[in-house]
């Protein structure tokens, strides 16, 4: 299998400064938020790669950079060998655009409330001037809704049904890759399982590749083949699913696994993790996790750890072995 997406040294910095007049008056410095910092990984064709992390980890930003909604500050994203940010051949860009689609978190905000479902689903094709007759109806049936739903408006559907419509829209252009940004975290448990099953079925039928972005470890464990753990914009650990869950190497991954509520841990008395996620505008020096890390040594506060390969795992920690 070959990598369909290759991400190299990806960095994204957002300028979150106040307007220049305020900065002038308050003598406040320019505030730069590093949302993604030097992240590299590859996604194999026809696999599910999951990015997990807490808020501010940069997982959604990476997803948006990959689909081209946000340009990278440094580094590159190669999709089927094409870099959307630098490619000049319009035909190649268009081909890649059709190959990569996205499913969003909020099924209520991701469908235009004034459009009929038929037009929503067919838009990716219609925007390219393709033939859309019967397309929406076919896709609706493929995602488990009925063809008669095409004439309705989004508000006539429940959250789970809306997410199915979003999936149908993502499939319209016949993509190879779908970036799923927290696709089920707005859904109730019983509906979440329907959507996850649908996504698994579609992957098998259509040979799709998923980049699955989530904060929910149980969902990630269920869906992913390979998992990358992000902390404060940095990739701290990456491993095949079973390896990662059986033997997490990075102290942050271990902390995350311990802190996650478990369905079978009745009345568990955990020693909760210490501290909170630091401010991404002024991240800690060296390893970003060192102020909270139980194992931290001097070197951790001075030197940012490089990604190292340990068996199947890649980990960014001085001490992991």
């Amino acid at each position: 299998m070959s990598a369909i997406i290759r991400i190299e040294h990806l960095t994204r910095i957002f300028d979150v400064s106040k307007p220049w007049l305020n900065r002038l008056i308050e003598r406040a410095p320019r505030a730069l938020l590093t949302a993604v910092s030097d992240v590299s990984f590859e996604i194999e064709e026809n696999s599910v790669y999951a990015l997990v992390g807490e808020s501010g980890s940069g997982k959604s930003t990476i997803g948006k950079i990959i689909v081209g909604l946000v340009p990278p500050s440094q580094g590159s994203v190669l999709i089927e060998g094409v870099d959307l940010a630098t490619e000049s051949d319009a035909a190649k860009i268009d081909a890649v655009r059709a190959d990569i689609q996205m499913i969003f978190q909020d099924p209520y905000a991701s469908l235009n409330p004034r459009w009929r479902v038929r037009d929503i689903i067919a838009e990716p094709v219609a925007a390219r001037g393709g033939a859309t007759t019967g397309l929406a109806e076919k896709l609706l049936e493929q995602v488990g809704l009925s063809a008669a739903d095409a004439g309705k408006y989004p508000h006539e559907f429940s959250g789970g049904q809306r997410q199915r419509i979003c999936i149908a829209r993502a499939l319209a252009s016949g993509p190879k890759i779908i970036v799923c940004d927290e696709p089920t975290s707005a859904l109730d448990v019983s509906v979440q399982s329907q959507v996850l099953n649908l996504m698994s079925d579609l992957r098998e039928e259509l040979g799709l590749t998923y980049l699955f972005i989530s904060h929910d470890l149980t969902v990630v464990h269920h869906m992913a083949d390979r998992i990358g753990v992000l902390y404060l914009g940095r990739l701290v650990e990456e491993a095949p699913r079973d390896t990662l869950f059986a033997d997490p190497k990075h102290p942050y991954t271990q902390m995350l696994f311990d802190a996650a509520p478990r369905m079978d841990a009745f009345g568990r008395e955990v020693d909760p993790p210490k501290g909170e996620i630091p401010d991404a505008i002024n991240p800690p020096s060296g390893c970003a996790f060192h102020p909270r890390c139980p194992l931290a040594i001097d070197r951790c506060s001075r030197e940012r750890p490089e990604m190292r390969r340990l068996g199947d795992t890649r980990v960014a920690c001085h001490l992991a072995e």
Binding site: M102, R114, H155
Partner: protein
């Protein structure tokens, strides 16, 4: 929350009748009365040539002897009867009001349309494009807000009057009025649309359209515009009342509709000359009509705002 789960698809009319907005309307007596008043007044204005008992601007039908006939009383010289009395030149006040409303409403509607098109376009552009485009548009708006709207209108009116040849002035007056009021009123449309656009453009359906490869123009027009129209509708209604009043104010100040084509404001200006000599009706009835029109439209706008606000439902 409309019940949409039933499989029977009711007819379009039935659905409209059952929609939330229609339901809210049927349960708001103020809105119903306001609508009635507005509809009657607009019909009266539109159909003025048919319903007006006299043609007040045809000198051939005027009889100076009919001047200052009080309302509801026969004229002491000619025996003619006028429901709302006559003015100094013997024109029937009721008829002048009907014709005056035509001018007032035409100016009001056109000015609001102009302000709306201008404001919505600039607001959408500012909200969606951001950056320098936004800064420039919104600073112009801010500067304009520091002048009273009526002052801006008078300024535009003055410039226009300076550059039009005197023989066209009366014909141009109406269009200049529309331009003056429209240009002084776009700011609130722009502000509201910009705010709503800022909210909508971060919603995921807009991101989905962007990643499909839609052009910014298509996204603004087809995705964002339909979703920011609710507040625009509310402002347009309230602006209509304000525009009619602004027109009346300008005309009252003598810079608006000419006496040959009087609007409600011109009628009020003419009427106030006779207020202290006992001929109160010449002022009172045009003023009362203006009040009823503006108040009803305003009340309608208030209701619309509440009805369209999902949080108040």
């Amino acid at each position: 929350m409309a019940d949409t789960s039933s499989d029977i698809r009711p007819t379009r009319l039935r659905r409209a009748w059952n929609s939330d907005i229609a339901w809210s309307f049927r349960h708001a007596p103020v809105a119903m009365v306001s609508t009635l008043v507005v509809v009657v007044l607009i019909l009266g204005a539109v159909l003025a040539p048919l319903v007006a008992p006299h043609d007040p601007f045809n000198p051939a039908t005027l009889n100076l002897m009919n001047g200052f006939t009080p309302p509801g009383v026969a004229n002491q010289f000619t025996g003619d009867f006028f429901v709302l009395g006559t003015d100094d030149q013997g024109r029937d006040v009721f008829s002048t009001i009907l014709y005056g409303m035509r001018i007032s409403l035409f100016v009001g509607f056109s000015a609001v349309l102009l302000a709306m098109v201008l404001g919505v376009t600039l607001g959408l552009l500012a909200g969606y494009a951001g950056g320098w485009t936004e800064t420039i548009i919104m600073r112009i708006a801010d500067v304009q807000l520091t002048f009273p709207a009526i002052l801006v209108a008078m300024l535009i009116f003055g410039i226009a009057k300076g550059i039009t040849p005197p023989e066209y002035r009366d014909q141009m007056a109406i269009w200049v009025l529309i331009l003056a009021i429209g240009l002084s009123d776009w700011v609130q449309f722009a502000r509201v649309v910009r705010g709503a656009t800022l909210v909508e453009k971060n919603k995921e359906y807009v991101q989905a359209a962007r990643l499909i490869g839609r052009t910014p123009f298509a996204i603004m027009l087809r995705h964002i515009l339909p979703n920011v129209l609710n507040p625009v509708l509310v402002i347009a209604t309230i602006s209509l009342a304000l525009a009619i009043i602004a027109e009346a104010t300008l005309s009252f100040l003598g810079v608006g509709a000419p006496p040959t084509k009087p609007s409600l404001g011109t009628l009020i200006r003419i009427g106030q000359e006779f207020m202290f000599s006992g001929e109160w009706w010449i002022l009172f009835f045009p003023a009362a009509t203006l009040l009823a029109l503006a108040l009803s439209i305003n009340l309608l706008g208030d209701w619309l705002r509440d009805a369209l606000n999902p949080r108040l439902r």
